[in-house]
Every structure is written in C-alpha cells, then in structure tokens.
Symmetry: D3
Subunit: 339 residues, 6 copies
C-alpha cells in the first residue's frame, strides 16, 4: 500500500447516499458527490443507485457504465431496478447502472470532467478527481458490503466483441472456482477465462483482493446495443441472482462456448492509419496467415492496402469498430475455442 | 433556376483534375480545390479520383463518401480502383470513393470545414463553400459525362439500416424503369422504391434531372462496416457495371426482397432524450402496436421509460444507432415487405 | 421584397406541428423541425408549443426565448401554459415559451447550431438555417393567426435592464395607439416608447408590418431572473390577455413610469477593455457629466481607470452586466423619465 | 504534514516579485511566475501586487480574485491601491486584487490554465500547477508577513448572496474573537459565523493555522457587481484597516445583522435539471415548507415543475444564479437571523 | 453587378467613424461597428483609424492587417500614425493599420468571428458578416476618397516570401503605369508584376475598378516580422507618400530586382502530408529539376521522402512555412528574375 | 529520490519496442505504448525508432522532437536514419527523431494528450501520463545503453534563436570537458556554455546524472526550419558521430563563436501585451540602453509603445517569435560573445 493511499484513508468519502443500505424494501436514490466548477460553484455529481433489500441474505453489487459508452449493462440494470420487487429477493441487490455517471451522460469511455478511466483508478482517492472519488466510494463503502459483484462491459464506441461473460484466473483457486460457476450461470453465448497481465487499478482486482466473487462481461459494442445482446444481459443478471440465492426462481441454463486468448499473438495492431476493413465478421473462423483486416491509405487510389494477418487460428472475437483507424489501434482479436 | 444559380454559371469551377477523362487506361489522380484558410494560406482540398477507360462505350460514375461516415461504398470503391484493369472495361468507369473528402477524412456526415451536407447542396456553387464547390464540379463536369450513376450510402454513425439498394419513383417512367433494373442487378438482400418528399439539393435529383440512371444504397451503418456488408457492396458494383455493359463478365443474380416505406407512420421519433433501447433488431418482424423502442430517463432509477410503438406492421428497416438519444431523433423505421 | 425571399415563398415550411390550431381545448405539443447533423442524421429540433382555444375570439400569440438567455418570459409562459384552462378563455392563446429553442437549451442569446440571432432574421427562410426556418414558421404560420403579439425580452447574460414593457413608435398611428394601450395594460414598473433606427430583421417589425398589435418587454437581465421580475411578467401577461378580451377577469392596473431614450447620447461605450464598474445602480438618478461607469485596466495596479460620463441627465436604465468588459461594449444607458 | 508536502518545502518558489516588501512608500509591482506553454515557451504569469508601507506597524494582506469571477473585492482593491498614500499608513498594506490572476482574466471561478480552484489547493506546491505555485507563494511568503488577512469573495457567476462579512468558528477562541471583531468592524449589512465542515485546502485554513486574523466576505454574485455592493466592499476594507490600526481615521460603524446556517437543511439541491425559478428573492422571509424554488422541465409545456421546499424557516441567504440549473446544483440556501 | 449587391446598396453602412475626414490635423479615432453576440448583446468591433489632413491635396489610403497574421504593415503604420505631423502633409493620409481588426487581434489570417478572408469578400455587404461590413465600408466610404492605395501583405503564419512590392497588370495601361511607378518608388529589394487569374473579391480589384492607383506588398511572413523587413515597410510607405506628393521630403531611391511568376509551373504542391523540408532558402538559385522541397512521412523511419522538383529555373520566391505540411499545401514557389 | 519515484521503480515500463537493441544491422521499428482513450479503447502511441548497430563500440543516442514544434533535429535524424548504413558504423546509433511523438504530430511544444512538457518530466513514471511513460522509458531503458547523447532543440513556434550547440557547466569537470569537446566537434556557427538554475525534470540532467556525455542545440525556431539550419544539424550530427568514434570518416571542423548569457539581465519581458516589434535581428550588435524591442498597444493609434531596453551589451541571441506578445512573455535575449 503506497504512502499516498495510506494518507487518503484518513479522509472520509465526500459522497453522501440518499439510500439507507440497512432498510428493507425498494429504494431509488442518489449518491451525491459535491463538485465545484466554473459552471456551478456549489454543484454535485448525482449517481443513481437502487437498493432492493429483503432481510438477511447474500448481497449482490451490480454495475454498468464503468465505461460510459457501453450500453448492455445500463439497459439491463435500469430495467431490473424498475422491475425488481423486494419480496422476490432474499438478501440485498445494490444496483448502480452507471458507475462513471459523468462519462455515461457524455456517452464516452472516460469522464469528460477529468478524463478518468474508472477501471484504471481503483482504489480511488477521497480527495482526488471526480472519477477517483467515485472509485473510492466503491472501494470503501460498496464493495465491502457485497458477496458477489457483476460488472457489465461491452466494447464501447471503438471496439466490438462477441458476447461473452468472463472471470479471471486467480491465485485463490476457491474464489476462482466460485467466479467461474457464476460465469456459467450467467449463460452468455460465449464465456472466457481471462488472465490479466496488468491488473493494476482495475475494479475487478479491487473486488477480488477483497475476496469477492467477481464476474464481468463483454457484450457487443460500437457504442450501441442490439436487442439480442440486451436480452443476453437481462437474462444473465437474473441468472446470476438466482445462482447467488438472491432470487428463488429457477436458473435457466443456456449453452455457452469457452474462449481463450492465449498470447499476445491474438492481437493485431495497425501501423499506419487509414480506412479500416475487417475481412471477417465476429465469430467467423480464421486460419493462421489469413488476412483478417486491411488498412487503406485514402489520400489516393491505386495504393496497396496494409494487410494484417492472423498469427494463430481461431475465431474473430473482437475488432476495431469505427470506419477509420489510427496508428497503434488494435484492429483484430483472434480467440481460440477451448471446448 | 434561381437568379443566384444563373450568376454562378458564369464562373468556372476552381477545381482542377490531374486526370484526363479522354485518355485510355487506368489513371489514379486528384481533384485539386484551392482552399485558403488560417492553417494554410495557399492550401487545397485534394479529392482522389480514378478513371478507367477503354475506348468508346457507356460511362459509369461511382461514388462513396457523399456522407463522410458511411464506409461500405468507399471500401468497395478503393478496392475496385486498385483492381480494375482497363482491358476489362468497355467505355469508362469514373470512381470517386470519397466525394465529400474533408468529411470522409474527419469521419463525419458533414464537412468539418463548412458543416456542409453534400447531399443537400446540389447543384452547388463555384464560388460557395468547399462542399458547394465540390457539388458544382459533380454537377457541371462529372454528371454530364455519365450514363449511369451509383452513389453508395449507409446509415453513418447515427443510424443503422438493413442492407438495400434503391432508386426513386420518377415522373419519367422510362428512366425509372432503367433505374430499377439497375437496382435489381445490384442484387442487395433488400431493394427499395423511394418516394422523396423533399428532394431539393440532393445529388440524386441532380443526376435524375440530367436524365441519368441513378442508383443508391443503404448498407448497414453505425459508422463502421461489416465484412458481410462490404461483400454486398463489392458484388453490387461489379453487377451494376456488368448490367451497364461496361464489364463483360456474367451478372451474378442474387435474390432480393422489396421494401416499401409507405407513409410517415413508418418513422418514430423520441420526444425526450435518454438511454435508447431498441426492442427489436433489424429485419425482425414488428406488429402494429408493439413497443419497438424505449427511452430511459437515466437521472434516477425507478422511472418508467417512454415507449415508442409501431404505427404499422412490417419489419424493422432502420434504427437510431448510438446508445443515447436526443429529443427529436428518429428512433425506429418500420418498412413493409412488398414481395 | 427581395428576389430570394420571393423564391423562398415557393417552398413550404419544413416544420410540422403536433397541435391542431382549430381544435378547442388545451393542447401541449411540439413544432418538429427536421435537422440532419453529424450527431443525428435524422434528428429534429422540437419546439414546445401550447394552444388553448375556446371557440371564436381574439388570438394572442405569446412568446419568450427569442433570445435564449432571457428568462422572465419563459418562466411566465411555462407557468401560464400549465395553468390556463380552456374554459377561462374566449378565443385562442398560442404560447411558445422558448422560440429559439436551441438557444434556450444552451442558455445563450443566439443559437449554438447556427449562431442565429432570431430577432435579426425575420422573415426567415424555409430552406435556410435552423433559426431562419423557425422565423419563417412564425412569419408565415403563427403571426397571420394572431391579433395581438406579446414577445418577452430581458437583458440576457450581458445586459441588465430596469423592468419595462414597450411598444414602437409606428407610422400607423392607430396600430401604435392600440399597442401602447396594451403596454399600459401590462403594467410594468416602467414603460417605454421605442423608436427603432434599424428595424430590419426584427420579429417586432414582421408583426407590425402584418398589422398586428405588438408588445415587448425588457425585464431585468444578467442571464437570470428574480422572483420580483417574474411576478411582473406573470401579472403582465394575464393583464394583456384581459385587455385583449381573452380572459374575462378584471384587469389589475398598476402604476408605471414612462421612459424615453431620446438620442444616441443615452449610450456609453467602453473604448478599452478591463474590469467594469458601474458607479450607479439601475433606477438611480444621474446628472449630465457624472461618472457613470469606470473601466479598470487590471494588468497593474496604480493606473487610472477610464471614466465614462453621462452625456445627459436621467436615470440609469440599463448597464453592461458581466464583471469584465471588452472594447466596444455598451457600458451604460441613461433614460429620461417623461411623466 | 504529508510526505509530498515535506519534499516540496525543499524547493524555492519560482515566483519573483518586482516589489521590495521592506521598502517604504507605494510600490505597484508584479509577481512573475514563469509558465512555459505551447503559445509561449518562455512565458510568465504576471500577478499585480501593490505594497504600501510606512515604517513599522501591523501588516494587512488584502486579496480579491481568489475565485476569478467575483468582482466586489477586485473593484475595491484596485481602487484602494490607486488611492492609498504611504503617509496615511502605519505599518504595511499588501494588496493582491486578483490572486488567481489567470482565472480573473478569464472571468471564471477556476484557472483556465489548470482548472485549479485556488481555495482548495492550499498550501500549494512550488513544483505543481500554476494555481498551486501561486498558493505556495501566499503560504510561504505573503501569509507569514501578515497580521490580519482580508480575502474578498462573492457568489461568482453561478451563485448570488446577501452581502455579508464572515469569520470562522475556531478552536483558538482568542483568534476567533479577534476575527469576529474585525468582521464587526467591516460593517457589512449582514455578518456570518461560519463552521467549515471540510476546510482542507482553503486559504482561510492556511491563514488561521498560521495564527493570522482571517476575515472573508460574500458580497452579491452573478458574475457582476452592483454599485451598492462595491460601496460595501470599499467601506469595509477601510474600516478593517482602521480597526487594525493601520489607518488612523475613525472607524465608521454600520449596523449589521448576524446570520447562521445551522445545518445541512439550509441547502436545497436540484435533482433534475431545467429552467430554474426562485420563488423568493434574497433577504425575503421563508417559512419551513414554503416552495422556495422550482425547476421546470422545458421539453414540453404541461408538465408540473419540481418544487423545492424550505426545510427550516429564515431568510433566503443565497441562490443559484443562472436561468438554467443542472442536476445536483444547489438551488437555494436559507439562513437564520440570530440577532 | 448582382441582384443582391444592388439591394445591399440601399442600406447604409452600420459603421460610424469617430473621425471627421474633412477636418485638418491629426485624428486618432475608431470605426465602430455594432456586433451583437452571445458575450455582448450590445457589443461593437472598434477598428482604429488615423487621419492626418492638411488642406487640399492628394489622398492616400494606407492599410495593413487585411490578413490578420501579417505584421510588417501594421508595424509600419502604427508607427507612421504615431509620428506623422499634419504640417508635413499636403492633402490627406488615412491610415487603417489593421483592416480586419478581429483577425488581427486573434493573430489569424481570417476573422475568428465569421472566418471571413477580407481579401475575398469585396465589395462586402452592409448587412452581411462582420468582415463583409468592414469591406463594404472600405468600398463605399474609404476607397472613393482615395487617390492612391497602399495595402500591406506578408506571408502570414503559413507562408514566407522574399520581400517585394507589387502591382497588377491591368487593362487600363495608364493606371497600370502609375501603379508600377509607385512600386518603383516604394523601393523594396524585389518588385513584382502580378497577373491575377481569379481577382474576384479582392480589395485590389475593388480599388482598381474605381480607378485608384493600387500598390501592395509581400514582405516576409511566418506570422512574425524581422527588424529588416519592418525597415523596408517603413521606408517604403514614406517613399510612396513622397511619390504621391503628400510628403515633400526627397524620395530615397533603392535598387530593386523585378520578379515574374510566369505560369502555374512556379507552384509545387504537397500530395501527402508530413514533415516539411525546404531544400533551398528564399532567394537561393534553383535549376529546373532540382529537388526544392521534401515531405517526410514520419510514422516510421526508413521510408523515402516525397521529393518535389522545380518545374522551371529561377529563385525561391516563397515557401510553406510551418514544419508540418498537409496534402494540397503549396510547398514552394519559384520566380524568374526579369531584370 | 522521492518516495513516489521509488514506488514507480517497481513497475515495468508499458512500452514494448519492436527493435532488438542487441541485433546488428539497420532496424526501423516502433516503441509501442498502450494508450486507452475515448477514441480508441485499445489504442497505442507508436514512436518511431531506428537502431543501426555494427558490433561492439560506443553507443550514441540521438533525439529530436523533445519539444514537438522544433524541426531541425527531426529533419536531420529522419534523414540520417534513412541513409546510415550498418557497415559505416562501429558500435551503435539509436535514433529517436521525435521523442514526444504526440506533440510532434500535433506540431506543438507539449503533448496534446496530457500537455506534458517532456523536458520537465524526467525521470518520468511508468504509471503516469503518456509523456511521463515515454520519459521513463528513456530514463530506464535508452539512457543506460548510451555513451553519448545528442538532443536537438530549436526555438519552436514562439522563440527564434541564433544557431548554437551547447553543453552544461557541470560539477563533474571531466564529464563537462568531454561534453564541450563534443560541442566543439558539432561545429555550429555559435556554441554556448549553459548554467541551468532550475534543472529539475530535464532530460539533460537525467543523462548527466547517469554520467553520459550530453550535448544539445538551439537551431533557429519559429516553428519551421530553414535549409541553412538543417544543413547545420545534418553536418553536426555526423561530426558528433565521428568525434565519438562511431563513424570513421574525418571530422569536418567549422569555426564557431562562443556565447555566454551571464545573468538574468540578458532577458527582457513584456509587461503589457500587444503588437511585438524586434528592433534588431538575431546576431545584430546591441549596446546597453538600446531599445531592443517595442510593444504597441493596438486598440488605438497615437499611443506610445512600450520600449524594452538592453540591460547589457552584446548580440541578440534569441527573440520572441509571433507578431503578437502577451504580458510576461520573454521578448528578447542578449548574449555576450566570449571569444
């Protein structure tokens, strides 16, 4: 633990919730974070939160909008918050459909206020930026209450993913096993085992270090949501709550295929920028050596495009989304089916 | 013809092409448009153009990037320009893969230079904005050379479409019939008969008023392109050149389904802004009265979303794309299958 | 009438109202103006409108938000729209609380979309900018229906005014007399006779040229509203409706003092920019030769400020509002009391 | 004291003053802070400072522009600097009329250079941002010289206040008593006892921790100044200098009313954004349960506004200023009169 | 003359000068142009003007800042205005050192207010943009008074020129001869005969069409001025006034070399963008076929730069200035020495 | 070494090079730095690097673009990278022609990504901003490999310098002597001994503290490069490689004059902003008391300009570049010739 984090622990969070986490019933409230700025000297960021509690029992913490341009999670969670009844629940469901609320309102990955990427700023700081203050509140107030944590992600405006649910390979094999059981329960079309090389600052890591069962997703992308991917999200979250024993209705099992991204060879990067062309669509089969993407210089016709070739065989699991690509952007991700 | 358009006719276009439209062979060139501005007193806009000519014969004018964030057309046309050989051709193929080149470079519908929407600025002006000068060059130099015109569109960053090729219902029924024959030849999964209510300023209208066979498309959207929709574009343009007698290889017929958007009831608009949810995906069946989209106010949980309901039965032909929606945005378009 | 305006008349307005101006009762609707742009290819501007009609009778057209940063009018008119009952009315009340709706949403004098100053763009154009299209709809659709027109103004973010209601000195003395009678009925603390030197493009002029009784106001400013000035606006609009015979309740007369701004000597302009100081407050007595405002150069202390002196005696009727002033800004306006 | 602050102490301030604090007489100078940036590789921030010294005696440090959009302080202090004569003074008066000079030039609360809110960045850092470097100079160079510190505030562009002078409730009751005596001497129409809950980073706290008598104000707001509030500021600063024994002229006592803001119930926050309406003006009486402000959703007429009700009885002491309000903004502050 | 220009003639200019063009002596004044905008509802553009008159005699109109980032002219003219004495003059000298004053303040070629390039907007419009209104005032008020017009230009931020004075080849050979005599009198190191291909909208053309002797310059560039080029400008303007008979002191002849730019082959344009390298400096000798500039793609090392070669022999007369270049920018201009 | 720097050492650099520093031959590669952002969730910064190695021997590290708007270094280094052959080399040449690559692409001194001034951020941080991550890679990976370091600077967009090569006065007199020998070998027209007062954060200091021979330059400026200054840079870098024993060709000695800037009196700063005029050109002789620059207030003619006078005699070594100047900008630098 760093010196500056220790010092930070001495200050309370500036966030005040309008909900009472001890109270039974359905509460729709706000996390109010004072935020003084040029256009509002005494302004605040107001983050919606819903708490559904019915006596003692497990606590699930459900979140979307960790990145502000990923929509399946928020769509499933606003809907769940509007429809979940206290009497259906045993224990507590805490729903924050748009964690990085300023980013979510702005439709961007990071916060327009401080350019904070929420998922790289854990454990946060009570006297840091707006994004760090929100992370700190999750770190010190919400995560400690939870038994199971489900954090929805999608590709956002610049990536598109096959729909999958995932958990991390962990040193704590018991915790890992419980996480993968929850992934299986979620029941997305694809499921993934993820090995983070650089996990510093992630919400995932923060939760796992506190011993929480942590499950995440990547469900589509492109800065939009399809009806079909929202249906996956809605079914998945209900299944996870059933699996956790919070909802008593029967878990609806759906088949899933397991993906692995075994090495850095899964990823292809553009070296020059230009007009981006994926040569295969998500889920299509790719053989090692195939051209999987091309980048066309567009200042003139008659110039050969750059060709990016698959460095291993598998299926296209993710791709750059926008029609133009910049040098250094990840163009394509090939994954291996392991089942 | 308006007074100001008459006056404009007196001035030559400021655009100078580096290609010779009379020369046989393949030429990759530029349309140079002088453009003085703060960051370049003697700057120019340089629009790529490719001319493939082989003796006398019909002339096809092929364009993409009329709107700068629509990618199937540019991808098919840069590829065609790189691969078409003069000896394959009878007549002339003129390819402008990115008409509104400043918009295309910027990845936006309209030009970052003057916010010009190319498809609302025809016939253009030689002494107008950059976008108007480009339109004028098409109006007075390129369109008059053409027999058949194919202008690629897609939904762009803010809309997503079922892939279709289309032509307009015209007063000149002979011209209309020739246009629909070209649509049929294109062979997209869907084809559409379009009745423009407000056709003022469109490239389509400019071409049709000059008696040209004019064919257009909507192929996907969202500010990206899929491998599958690019394949449709690539196959379609080759089929159109075969149909026009410019390529001698055999036309590959593919089945198409005909769409109609009979009235304003096809379109649903959001009244409040918020988190957008399509309840059906493109091509899915919709019954009159179904909730086809919802808009969730996101400042709080626990508020009922607005529901937009289908005003007629059909299939979902187009939808708002980004995850957030603003008041007045078109949320959903329902079309009727007529075959 | 100019050539381009004649041509414009040939095109219908692109605006479609969701209200029926012929229907009795209270309708809360929208004027939908299609507006294609980078962030919404099929977007619209949606301008709120309320129509309260009860049989035949006079028609009042009430508007605020002609400039988007002036608030007394919108506050009085949203309130009136929420509370007016059809049975209280004889004839019709058409309420557009925020004419230049994009400017109003943005909190600025002019439209963020096209920088259009609504009050300089009449008669508008159906194929012009967004602001011109709104002006054209008022010119060709709303004004012709009206007998009496009340358009609320205040000082906006950069000026502050004594609260007054006003009408113009007109060639048509009968129309002028009817307008001043309505001003008297409004009953603001101050009333003004205005002689426009350059009336081209004003909504006022457009209404007057159609023979409508036109009344306007300046009620405070600074980009905000006080409870006291909103009370003036609310009472004034009700009085005008009573005066017009649309509301049958008794007109509540309030004393008003008449102002005149007889010449260009009423206005003082800053020559250098700096820190602005008004030496007198609105309504305070000023003698010719008094220092009424100072501009302090702030790069150093110890420099004498510029002094602006009154060129005639009267009261301070308006002043520059923000704490900093730029060269050429109007610093102070002195008016003469004529009663 | 944190580790990083200790390290910072090792570096000298980069600011060099052009005045000599030991020299008798009137000096108008600059604090020069080197600031390398894209538009000036060897640029500087130049902060005006005036020193008026006449032998030994108490030292007053007077400042405005801690927030850049608050004008009564700068107006009183540029004026004082221009008019104060060395022979009138016993001791020293140090005047910095615009502390956060980049913010002041820009007319904004925070610095356009680094978005620094000066009053949250004490004790500053000599190797931090521009705002932190200025704070550090006050912390380590100016504050240690002073006996009494007067820092002018107003509401700025987004708040409006009743005019009051204030000091903090302190643990050091002797220091507190001396501060309140100075408040009494200032003689604003209202005076306030303030209990800071979160005083970290404030200039106030920095001064008080060094044992200085610290007095502050809130005098109007809205991003402008009235002649009447500037008169209060001018009279107040002279009174404070008399009270401190620096000016020998007689203190002019003026009646003041004492305000208290006893709890968080004084503050009301908007939950949704919209058109803001204060229902009472500053200084008007409010009863618990009264509607003190309303927020009108403006996308349509006919929707009931949100109503914010007073949670205690008192007078309106402060309010949101601009005509539009965002979720989370403080709408109204009710204070209790304690005399 | 177009229809819209005729209509425009009916309206007076909105500009009011604070100087009296009929009065003898030195007057330092302002042209005030009302300009309502979001940050100043009743704001103005204030353009400095100096008039030095002494009885009857020729009238010289001297201007700089036609483009806002060209500095030799403004430097020479502010200096001349500060130093010219009425008694030295026979006739009148009208000095406008910064014609496009908003552009000049902003340090850009075009106006930040409307992006107007002053030298393409003549004859201007009294009801157009700010830049058009200024042009109209020159067209209808200042030019008609003048006998001789000197308009200073330099290369601005994006071009650098050899220092030359120039006039146009005209149909009116007498006027042309008088203009070249004035060029000779100016005495720059280089002089040029210019043949405008597209003279529409230029101030030059406006003056020449009114039969005025019109002289212009290009003196350096790069958005700065050297002491040596300012000395040329200062000496040149005095010589022109002597030549015109307005100053009686003796004309100081300096040798000049005559340049010609005979064809479009003088100009080289970049096709791709990148890191720009001039291979020769201004005034250096160039042989046809020499590499005169290179453009380095900078995304990688090891790629051959584009080479631009001279299409004729001569000297380098102008060059692109900034270190980076965009596609379509003019890279180099070769001129031929004709003496 | 600070606490936070110690902690940082525990993390590896996120940068991965595509070159192998141990491999003989010429390699053109990239330093890939992952950079997640709104417009590319999985984006990277790709910094070009060239390694030319031929067996054992000394290692030179050559860099340009430490500030992104300084061009002589990048021009010389891209050229060197394109032309240097492995067989010419003994040892290794590492070339990074654009260190702060985002700044270089953007044409600005600092990075558009984080406003980082590379030369103030050493030793960098592996988990800091993009600029800090690049600095850290130089600090921990590139500098340790080097024997001699040459870092090119010029004046950038806002300063212009006489062309000189320089090294620092150091406590380690042996290292200092070796550095000045390399400066002498470089052979610029001028050479300078520099005494840094505030060397914290500089690349220079980082290299020197590791015991490396460090040489730098200032070669012109203004955001451009002349052919003559690029020739100096190209000849200088080759000479330095010869001097270091890496190239075996004969060192070409050129005469140089030695400059000294002995005190703060060398620098003159503008106090007010305005139109900037240098009264002398670079290299011209200046006597103490001469007016070396003037600043003209431009809001009116007829006001005396500020005059800046030389505080010592010497030659003009550097000057403000743009035509406008702001308060606090360095206007002129006078240096003393010491040989």
């Amino acid at each position: 633990m760093s010196v500056s984090y220790q010092a930070a622990l001495l200050r309370p969070s500036p966030i005040s919730p309008s909900v009472d986490f001890e109270r039974d019933g359905v509460q729709h409230g706000l996390l109010r974070l004072p935020y003084s700025r040029d256009d509002s000297a005494w302004g605040s960021v107001m983050i919606p939160i819903c708490v559904v509690k019915n006596g003692e029992g497990p606590v699930a913490l459900l979140s979307g909008g960790n990145h502000g341009d990923e929509y399946e999670g928020p769509l499933a969670l606003y809907d769940l918050a509007n429809n979940l009844k206290a009497e259906e629940v045993t224990g507590t469901v805490i729903i924050v459909p748009a964690m990085n609320f300023p980013a979510f309102q702005h439709g961007t990955r990071t916060s327009p206020v401080d350019f904070g990427n929420m998922n790289r700023l854990f454990p946060g700081k009570p006297d840091g930026t707006v994004t760090e203050k929100i992370a700190d509140y999750f770190q010190r107030h919400l995560l400690p209450m939870a038994d199971i944590v489900l954090d929805f992600h999608s590709g956002g405006r610049t990536l598109d993913f096959l729909p999958f649910c995932a958990a991390h390979v962990l040193d704590d094999k018991d915790l890992e096993a419980r996480a993968f059981a929850a992934v299986e329960a979620f029941g997305a079309p694809y499921s993934a085992r993820m090995l983070e090389i650089d996990a510093v600052g992630m919400y995932d890591t923060a939760a796992e270090e506190l011993g929480k069962v942590f499950v995440t997703t990547e469900l589509g992308g492109g800065g939009s949501a399809r009806a079909s991917t929202v249906r996956i999200a809605r079914a998945g979250v209900v299944n996870v709550l059933r699996h956790a024993g919070i909802l008593s209705s029967e878990l609806v099992r759906r088949p899933t295929r397991w993906l692995d991204m075994p090495s850095v060879d899964c990823f292809s990067f553009a070296e020059d920028g230009g007009l981006y062309e994926t040569m295969v669509d998500l889920g299509e089969r790719v053989e090692k050596g195939d051209v999987i993407a091309r980048v066309h210089g567009y200042n003139r016709t008659g110039r050969a495009p750059q060709e990016l070739r698959a460095k291993l065989s598998g299926i296209l699991a993710a791709r750059h989304y926008p029609g133009l690509i910049k040098p250094g952007d990840c163009a394509s991700v090939v994954a291996v089916l392991t089942d």
